[in-house]
């Protein structure tokens, strides 16, 4: 092959890499902003001193309330406590009229996957951070990136486009669940999670 030919090949190769690694993710994922900004750090930090379980509760029947109800927010924010614009929107547009906040869920699993929070939290072995990282200390909510084709959040696949996770803690797909189950020697059959 001549130098010119090699140049076109290499150029094509490089172009494809650029498209595949840079342009493709931008096109594949649609960014959706949360309806409201929310600072976990304000609530879990020194100011309010709340813990995860204060809002994200497991009911008596074992059901997990991932997104707290309006009543829970309204307990403190029946009127504005601070001066932030976000809280103003919360009180005026949601708590006041009693309208549920349409939060966008980052880790919605498919219908064929059964994941009960209650069992995973009941004996205290697993901490929230183990699966949810430092989300509980975030100062704002990032936009949710939704795969335009599959409809699932990018957090489920993993932020790394290659799908490879060096520390095994990327994404929230079945392989991550299996690795943790193996590590904790909690081996289950298929029917346990795919009822």
């Amino acid at each position: 092959m001549t130098r010119r030919g090699f140049g076109f090949c290499a150029g094509g190769f490089g172009l494809a890499l650029a498209i595949g690694w840079l342009l493709f993710p931008a096109l594949l994922y649609k960014r959706e902003a949360q309806p409201l900004q929310f600072s976990h750090l304000v609530h879990t930090g020194d100011k309010a001193g709340m813990s995860c379980g204060d809002c994200h509760t497991v009911g008596e029947d074992g059901r997990f309330e991932g997104i707290p109800s309006m009543d829970k927010c309204g307990t403190c924010h029946s009127s504005q406590l601070g001066e932030s614009e976000a809280e103003k929107v919360l009180v005026d547009d949601y708590i006041g009229p009693g309208k549920p906040i349409p939060w966008l869920v980052y880790l919605r699993q498919p219908d064929n996957a059964y994941f009960p929070h209650g069992i995973h939290m009941s004996d205290g072995t697993l901490k929230c951070e183990q699966c949810h990282g430092q989300h509980g200390k975030s100062e704002s909510l990032r936009a949710r990136e939704v795969n335009r084709i599959s409809g699932y959040s990018r957090d489920v696949w993993g932020r790394n486009m290659s799908g490879i996770s060096l520390d095994g803690e990327q994404g929230m797909k079945m392989d991550r669940c299996i690795r943790c189950h193996a590590r904790l020697e909690k081996r289950e059959g298929c029917i346990a999670c795919h009822k």
Binding site: M1, R4, G5, F8, C9, A10, G11, G12, F13, G14, L15, A16, L17, I19, G20, W21, F24, P25, L28, D61, R63, P110, D111, N147, I149, S150, G151, Y152, M161, S162, G163, I191
Partner: protein, 711 residues
């Protein structure tokens, strides 16, 4: 620089290779697959608010309360109701998955009929009016001796009364109940006492229960009640003696298991009576109150323990010990059981067994058989015995679709149908079990799809009543049996202008309960009990029952006749089954069908129930037979072999399982259910093992001499 085609080709090749080194093709492939899973045609569970609703299970006569977790109003899981006074928080595996029955593969949503004859018949849709016309024609074209009959597997409901009202208005109308039910002991006691009032069993206060094959801990009465009673045995001192040829789940948990030779239960009962009388263990007043005590004593004198031991295979010491335990560890309840697949013991053994309750002084005493009050507004069921119906006399037969969980050979019914063009119409929502034998199908709403009523189990100490409120949205097509009866009666000119709906029948019942001012109502989830007299009006009571409350009668024991018989049908004992020759004693093997209540009868298993059968083998499917390993060695049949089982009535095939809990000499064949909860795919019911059971003169089919050969 001029770019040539060759340059573009090289660019394209480089891009292609480069693309393979990016996530693009792999991600697109993966995401496309996921995209197809989200197409609109793929059914999805609804997402929405989670609510809880209460209702009652109607899949068997147990009457267990259930709590449904619903998502966007659709029930997704069921549990029992903790603290419920009837079911004590228990729901059996069938009930737990009952909400799936609306999606059963053999569920019917519109009228159907078989076109063509015999096994070549093809199932085709038909209009409701055409089926009604066909039924009315059959009704009107009967000869004087031909009858119209309704086979009601769950008597006592409001619709049961309606069936009887219809049949009374029709010349030669027959109201039939199935031959296999849990109330056979009570029925024999009623014969001996000469009364019709219902009898309940006070297990809560009993100290000894002698069960002849009743699956008390494996699907009997209301399971929650039985578990509640028997789980407290340590503190109450209750002893269970199970007389059974198989070490069943009940026998395993009993305090004593008497492994009796099959077919000799009546002989054992007479032997026990012999001991009680000869040792004068019975209360003194029994001799006075039993009008035929002298004759009875003479009959049982032919059954001393030594003779009975030789017949039954038990030891004389065990027989004597059982008799003594029955009386000395009283109060006692003696039950003639009924395997859901094998059917009743027969009227003679049942009478012998029922008589032991009277001999032990258990009638109308705490811990024994209790005469309870009837449900207000209900009529005494005047059911004809199927065995007594003349052969080839039924022109039109309606099969009510309610579940009773017990099965019997269709041949018992078949022989009663007229030879030429009988018409069998099924009102069941499913084309399974007996329904599959029908010519036409007018499906009723499926389980939990319409308002139904359910009353106390037959062994309940007090009457109870509840409404099973629907959890599923109604479906177009199915119609209530009450509507079918009304339309048929109007079309045939039997009724002129009756317009009662199914809900009207239920309201009539509730009104009667309210008017009686008897009993109290438990409103889930936690009660408390509210007296009926505290309800403002019948509408308030109707609303409470519609919200899955249960009405429970006051604990008032009715009077019983002072004088009674002990012999009853035993006067014919010499001519029938109570003799001292073991039945089928010359037979190589004895075939006995068996099954689990609510998995038989109509045989509509919810699809999720595959875990208990196909996936785990905890229960046997139809097509499986169990034999003792010693029998297997004798017959040269290994575990897992396929074998042909031959009786005088036919041949069937089954996969053999070696099971040491089965007595040697017995082939225990599962009477159902079929794989995947389905039935014969062509729709013409295949009774399986029941087709090859020999039906005796007393209409029992429990035992058939059989030979088994490896295929």
């Amino acid at each position: 620089m001029k770019v040539t085609r060759r340059d573009m080709l090289k660019l394209a090749c480089g891009s292609a290779v480069g693309l393979l080194c990016t996530p693009v093709p792999w991600k697109l492939l993966d995401d496309s697959a996921i995209w197809t899973q989200n197409w609109p045609l793929v059914p999805r569970l609804p997402r929405g608010p989670i609510t809880f609703r209460f209702s009652t299970c109607t899949l068997c006569p147990g009457g267990c309360a259930l709590k449904a977790r619903c998502v966007s109003g659709m029930p997704v899981s069921l549990t029992g109701v903790a603290g419920h006074p009837v079911s004590h928080g228990v729901l059996c595996p069938i009930g737990l998955t009952g909400h799936h029955l609306a999606y059963h593969p053999l569920r019917l949503r519109r009228p159907m009929q078989f076109v063509g004859s015999g096994d070549d018949g093809v199932l085709a849709p038909v209009s409701y009016e055409d089926v009604l016309a066909r039924m009315a024609a059959a009704l009107g074209s009967r000869s004087e001796t031909e009858t119209v009959a309704v086979l009601d597997q769950r008597p006592g409901r409001a619709i049961s009364d309606y069936y009887q009202e219809f049949l009374e208005a029709v010349p030669n109308g027959l109201y039939l109940n199935p031959p296999s039910r849990e109330c056979s002991t009570a029925a024999r006691l009623q014969e001996l006492l000469g009364m019709e009032a219902p009898l309940g069993m006070d297990f809560e206060n009993a100290r000894c229960v002698l069960s002849f094959g009743a699956p008390l801990l494996d699907g009997w009465g209301t399971p929650g009640r039985m578990f509640h009673v028997f789980n407290r045995r340590q503190e109450t001192g209750l002893k269970l003696i199970q007389v059974e040829s198989v070490q069943s789940r009940t026998a395993l948990q009993a305090d004593r298991w008497l492994p009796i030779r099959p077919g000799t239960e009546g002989v054992l009962a007479m032997g026990i009576a012999n001991v009680i009388i000869s040792e004068k263990l019975h209360p003194a007043e029994i001799a006075k109150n039993a009008v035929d005590f002298a004759e009875y004593r003479e009959v049982v004198s032919a059954f001393p323990p030594e003779v009975v031991a030789g017949v039954t295979g038990l030891s004389a010491a065990d027989i004597v010990a059982t008799a003594r335990q029955l009386v000395e560890n009283g109060p006692a309840i003696v039950i003639a059981g009924c395997d859901p697949g094998a059917g009743p013991l027969g009227p003679i053994p049942e009478t012998a067994i029922a008589g032991l309750n009277l001999l032990a002084g258990s009638l109308n005493h705490p811990g024994g058989f209790i005469v309870r009050r009837t449900l207000p507004g209900s009529r005494a069921a005047a059911a004809h015995v199927l065995a007594d119906v003349p052969d080839h006399s039924i022109r039109l037969l309606l099969l009510d679709g309610a579940e009773c969980g017990y099965t019997f050979p269709w041949s018992l019914v078949q022989r009663k149908l007229v030879r030429e063009a009988p018409l069998v119409v099924s009102l069941s929502p499913y084309m399974t079990g007996f329904a599959a034998h029908a010519d036409c199908f007018l499906p009723s709403p499926a389980h939990l799809e319409s308002l139904q009523d359910t009353l106390n189990a037959t062994d309940a100490r007090t009457s109870s009543y509840s409404l099973a409120s629907p959890l599923h949205d109604p479906v177009d097509g199915p119609r209530e049996p009450a509507e079918c009866i009304t339309q048929l009666a109007l079309a045939a000119g039997i009724w002129k202008d009756r317009k009662e709906s199914a809900a009207d029948l239920l309201r009539r019942r509730v009104q009667a309960i309210y008017d009686s001012k008897r009993g109290s109502v438990f409103c889930p989830p936690e009660g408390p009990l509210k007296a009926v007299s505290d309800f403002a009006d019948a509408d308030e009571l109707w609303k409470a029952l519609g919200d899955a409350a249960v009405w429970i009668d006051d604990d008032v024991v009715q009077g019983a006749p002072e004088r009674f018989h002990l012999l009853g049908r035993l006067v014919d004992a010499q001519k029938t089954r109570i003799d001292t020759t073991p039945p089928h004693s010359g037979a190589l093997l004895v075939l006995m069908p068996a099954g689990w209540r609510a998995a038989l009868g109509n045989g509509t298993l919810p699809p999720l129930m595959s875990k208990l059968y196909q996936e785990s083998g905890l229960r046997s499917l139809a097509g499986y037979a169990s034999i003792n390993p010693a029998t297997g060695a004798e017959q040269n049949i290994n575990d897992g072999d396929r074998a042909t089982i031959r009786t005088g009535s036919g041949t069937t095939e089954a996969v053999i399982q070696h099971d040491p809990s089965v007595m040697p000499g017995i082939v225990l064949v599962a009477a159902g259910p079929r794989p995947n909860g389905t039935t014969h795919p062509a729709g013409r019911g295949d009774d399986g093992v029941l087709e090859v059971c020999d039906v005796q003169a007393d209409a029992t089919w429990r035992m058939s001499p059989a030979s088994v050969q490896r295929v």
